[in-house]
Symmetry: none
Subunit: 226 residues, 4 copies
DNA sequence: AATGAATGAGGGTTCATTCAT
DNA sequence: TATGAATGAACCCTCATTCAT
């Protein structure tokens, strides 16, 4: 750490990193470091000192921006949630594709990417610690879950309206389009070392099967590009 | 706690609880108590003192049977794992039902029960803490996951052999039959207070849709009795 | 501390100090040690670790008996308050002496002793920290101050009833009999090194003068033995 | 704080608060703010950041004038000590009043005012923290206590010389004229909420009684004007 | 001269673990 | 075997102090 500090000062002396600039980016740096630590060790087992060290920052600095460990945790979760979901929703609203093609194309790509992304760790974190942070869980539910469910419901309904799909109970349980994603995330985190799972194919298969199941009679399989 | 202890001694004196009996069942009582605590608070936030108190046992006693907190945790996980899965596998091997009927009957019932049971908490525990206990995760994978996957694969294959199902990639991803169960467990633990989810129907719908998707052409929907 | 621990074990091994016995006396030992530390450094500057060390006890033990530092502080104050005041009140009620003789005899001796005693430190502590511990201050007021005032009022009234004293406003301000004691305590703590103050004589003089001032006309000076 | 700073700058820009003026009075402003904080929370519990905030000054500025927290504390004590005592001494030397009248008039008014003033807090501060700042205590003793004692001794002696008073031991313990003031200060700080004490009357009564006690035979009670 | 971001030592508190009884 | 008093490492958080700007 002494080296790090020295290094920073050297950089600062050169004018490469200005104090003002650093100040503005510090919270993000700390959140990023915290993300790694929380993802790696879980909430309780994460030591703020390690977070600080990972952010090349002194032990006390995180407390300048986050009042408690829990606040920092919340900030981490919030930072990852952000707007990613808006993107796919936007796409959905404006696409020219059939619903089935959309599911097998952009939507599949979206959840495939999610499984491998850092945001997947947050899911694990929330599954693990969520019940101890009800406020945070509520926030996550509102920002992510309920919106996602709503979007998916609309998507399926549109398929029905357009005559692509039969009316099925999938409309009531859009979670089924998401469920394998959770499974994939968990598998990757826990069992990948014991048995490799092709999560991309898993997710593709689920959508394939579900669309097969709900496709309106007489309709053709609108396969995706793969 | 003092009262509890006294009460036990009173009971013991009356012969209602025989010393020998208590001694023999002690480890199980401790594991049961630990299960409750771990399920309620997670690994790190569980205090061994509380476990002991819940088991009506002195603070030091757990260490007589479990060398460390981690050992106790492992014992908890193992205790819940055992046996239950053998039952459903046994049933599957010996059933007279068609595969579809089996999926919609005993298998569905099995996973529906699981979601509401205490064992579901273990899933959350493993998701949360699993990566810190690789040995335990390996054990769980071998005892539960790999066997479960294998069993499901056999089941689907049998359906294909019997001409009930077309060959589909579901055979390669039997996790899809399980995925909604994980989702249901997580939903119950985190979001139930925000939005009720009929997990039984969720699970039923998934099997319904998947069987629809893979049913061999010309076959009838072999609905279950419900 | 390692030495201390070893020493204790040696003693314990000899059977000189039994664990059970120690347990019963531990809280008192800790309170005694805390008294010394608090008296020496004040509340905030006292480290519980030092208290523990002074009590020849591990850092964590005080928390077994006192939930927080503040609880320990309260226990310290309470332990010193105790019953000492009941003694002088009892004496007052049963004495054969005239009121003046009582003031110049037992009462004077009592407050003289107080100034030099450990209890005097508590006064300093309360003066310094009292406003941050309102609950404790209330307790002290009820147990010590209000009772003391009441007792003194009764004493003076009795002197008036018996014709020893004229009615004066001293009856409304019995604090004046006590005031020099506080001054003496503070002087000892702060200025003794700069200028010696004969606190015994100070207290005696105050009573001498006050009794002179309130003595009923025609009465003789009922001098004390000195 | 940001607002405050901005406000100051706005004021400064208008020339209402000139930069030079502010700079010159800065130390005093900081000391004044520190006085409030120390008086309210005691030495240890006072945060320099709060002092700075109260002085509408940045966190680091106090260190420009006071090397450490302790230095600032000393400055606070010194700032309150100065001057005020010289006034009453001056008055005493030049008064035309009899000693008794002086005690019951200007002197009484002086200590009555003191009890209610902010300077009274300093007494509590010194009682609480004095022994940790021996240098400061020495300073206080020399500047205030010893001079005060000396002055009072001279006053009493003059009364004796003039035939107003008999020679008594009060001459050796002029602290007795001050003692109730300390009591009053402490009472106000700690017990006022439990029981109101008319400190003015307390102080008046003490002087009344003491002068009664030492008045030379044949002299009249030289009551004050009130 | 002034700011306020940054540092890091220090202390209160918890709790897994040990051990005398 | 069983108890629960005792230990002490560890961790969160605070705040006096520094220093780049």
């Amino acid at each position: 750490m002494a080296e790090t500090k020295t290094a920073q000062r050297r950089l600062a002396a050169r004018g490469i990193v200005k104090r003002r600039e650093r100040r503005d980016s510090r919270p993000q740096e700390i959140v990023a470091a915290a993300f790694e630590e929380f993802a790696a060790h879980g909430y309780a087992a994460t030591r703020l000192e390690d977070v600080a060290a990972r952010a090349h920052v002194s032990k006390g600095l995180p407390y300048l921006y986050f009042k408690t460990k829990e606040e920092l945790f919340k900030a981490v979760v919030r930072s990852v949630i952000t707007s990613h979901f808006d993107v796919i929703r936007e796409k959905m609203e404006t696409t020219d594709l059939s619903v089935e093609a959309f599911l097998k194309g952009p939507f599949l790509a979206f959840i495939q990417e999610l499984v491998g992304s850092k945001r997947a760790f947050i899911a694990r974190l929330l599954i693990a610690e969520g019940h101890k942070h009800p406020e945070l869980t509520a926030f996550y539910y509102e920002q992510v879950v309920s919106r996602g469910i709503e979007t998916l419901t609309r998507l399926i309904d549109r398929g029905i309206e357009r005559g692509e799909f039969r009316p099925t109970r999938l409309r009531d349980f859009p979670q089924l389009l998401i469920a394998p994603m959770l499974t994939a995330i968990i598998w990757r985190g826990l069992f990948e070392r014991h048995h490799h799972l092709d999560t991309d194919a898993l997710l593709a298969t689920n959508i394939e099967l579900l669309t097969d199941a709900i496709r309106a009679p007489g309709r053709h399989n609108q396969g995706d590009a793969r």
